[in-house]
Subunit: 339 residues, 2 copies
């Protein structure tokens, strides 16, 4: 299959290097990494299995290669290309373009052993960062607002500049946690608050992802054992934890993703919180923070050994509180192993 | 003109609110803000001059409105829409779609007075942050690597979580500064190094942008008066500063952007560094860090009062050093005023 890639992580996956202005072109047994002169030196050092081509106009350079190689069919991801960029690529109409949504994500759905090692290390560092963050918040976080708490999470997850983050951490107090993608506010952390932290870091470009919801008191821990004063919150918390644990315990290779979603969702529905679980049970994690497989109500993707995804059920009561517990798992010998 | 917008800042500009999953549709005198249920409550509070529509499938909701309003012509930005999203929007082929690249950026090129006030405040806060950063690096930065220095810049520009950043700061030492878009490395700052810092913050969603290159010694300052031990570096520095000052002093409303580019570029070319000035003289700044007008060799955009852009000439000697000096200006009564 001949194909062309534009996304930075998609290109990195193919040849071990990328830049913020690059194209990757696979033509039969040949491959080309096209970038501008700012990146030539690094590209020539680091690109594996592809010829480095330097050009001011990357798309024009790609077209030139396509012509020279007499390519008649080329696959691309219609999510990756803007209308304008694709028009520049396809202007001559001498090539049949085949749309493959998620072309690169599909290739990346089963992780190689070397990728699994890196992801496991990312997860370990993420876990370690949560340990450091619980200490920091316990000591210096009470009385601080979500902006400052988010800054603490960024500092510690990034190990003060050593790592990039998988995404901007979510640090939400009480009712703010009821928004799954809460943005920070000036709400301040008090003892006895519910505190939700969803954060991850990148290790060798691969993402970690983790969420804990805790009863914030002096010397709290980001473990899954939490005791809330409110019985209503505790009931919701126990339900989310049960859904989380059950999905991990019962997930099997060979299941469809929607069956794994149902493992968690059924617990929450049976407890009467069904309408408050307003997102999917999980998503794949790798070079991108969201990739395949998607553990959703409708996904028919068959789960296989070597896939990596999150299990993150949640209950969100608008105006009151939100709870989410998230871990990353990988499938090994048919079962889900927490990373 | 009827048009549809997808970009978060483009939508914010129209109605004073946006979310990471929204569309804005302008049909004659009516306007619609379409988002999913996570954002309905906030949208209804904050959207001005548009009806809030909640939908799971935003594009389907837009099509429904287009049909109901009997819209036959609709403009869109082909850079903003992926091939896939645009196909979903245009599948019925009952509407004539007009491509306007940079549709929103074109509308935003001249800033309103209220925007100018916000941008001036963003620039002031950015300047203030550089003052704080010079102190912090002077005290704690020597012996630290670019990762840690970048973290310091992020912390201080963001005022420890209070502000978002315009972009990831560039903090580059010596030869690393020769890459205009340098990524941090483990190179450590020593006394007597050349240090380049390019950083900005967001205030009420508007960006600041500023670059200084300094001779890093105890109690250095991010001013434009710098004394390097190397005569070669000093010559390049003086040339960049002269180019920067001349462009600001001689820029006039009514000039084409390429004439302003030439004001800086000619100084650098005359000094014999022409081939080491490898980018444009500047770019517009607003809700996006890069917007119109582009102060480039080829831009015929006529500069007008109320535009905001950077003047940032540079000289980059590969493997040796890089110098860039950047300020934001706005055109007032025909002249460039530094923000």
């Amino acid at each position: 299959m001949n194909y062309i890639l534009k996304d930075e992580n998609a290109i990195y996956y193919e040849c071990g290097y990328s830049s913020d202005n690059a194209l990757y072109l696979k033509c039969g047994s040949e491959a080309f990494f096209i970038t501008d002169s700012r990146y030539t030196v690094e590209a020539e050092e680091k690109v594996r299995g592809a010829s480095v081509v330097t050009a001011a106009n990357l798309i024009a350079a790609a077209r030139k290669i396509l012509k020279k190689e007499k390519i008649k069919k080329l696959s691309f991801d219609p999510k990756e290309w803007s209308v304008q960029a694709f028009e520049a690529l396809s202007a001559k109409r001498d090539i049949h373009f085949r749309k493959i949504p998620d072309l690169s994500h599909k290739k990346r759905i089963i992780k190689r052993d070397d990728e699994l090692k890196i992801i496991a290390e990312a997860a370990r560092l993420g876990r370690k960062a949560f340990k450091a963050l619980e200490k920091e918040i316990s000591r210096n976080g009470f009385g601080e607002d979500e902006f400052r708490l988010t800054y603490m999470a960024k500092s510690i997850l990034g190990n003060y500049g050593a790592y990039d983050l998988s995404f901007d951490p979510i640090v939400a107090i009480g009712a703010n946690a009821a928004k799954p993608h809460a943005l920070p506010t000036s709400k301040k952390l008090k003892k006895g608050d519910l505190l939700l932290v969803d954060a991850g870091l990148k290790y060798k470009r691969y993402c970690s992802d983790r969420t804990r919801t805790v009863y914030a008191e002096k010397n709290f821990h980001f473990t899954t054992e939490q005791h809330f004063k409110s019985r209503k919150i505790q009931k919701a918390y126990d339900t989310v934890l049960k859904a989380h644990d059950r999905a991990i315990a019962k997930a099997r290779s060979g299941m469809k993703a929607k069956e794994i979603d149902a493992l968690a969702r059924n617990v929450i529905e049976k407890a009467g919180f069904g309408k408050y679980f307003i997102h999917s049970t999980g998503h794949g994690v790798g070079l991108d923070i969201h990739e395949m497989p998607y553990i959703s109500k409708r996904s028919k993707t068959v789960i296989e050994d070597g896939m990596v995804y999150t299990i993150e059920p949640g209950i969100y009561i608008p105006g009151h509180f939100g709870i989410r517990i998230e871990d990353m798992v990988t499938m090994v010998s048919g079962r889900a192993v927490v990373l």
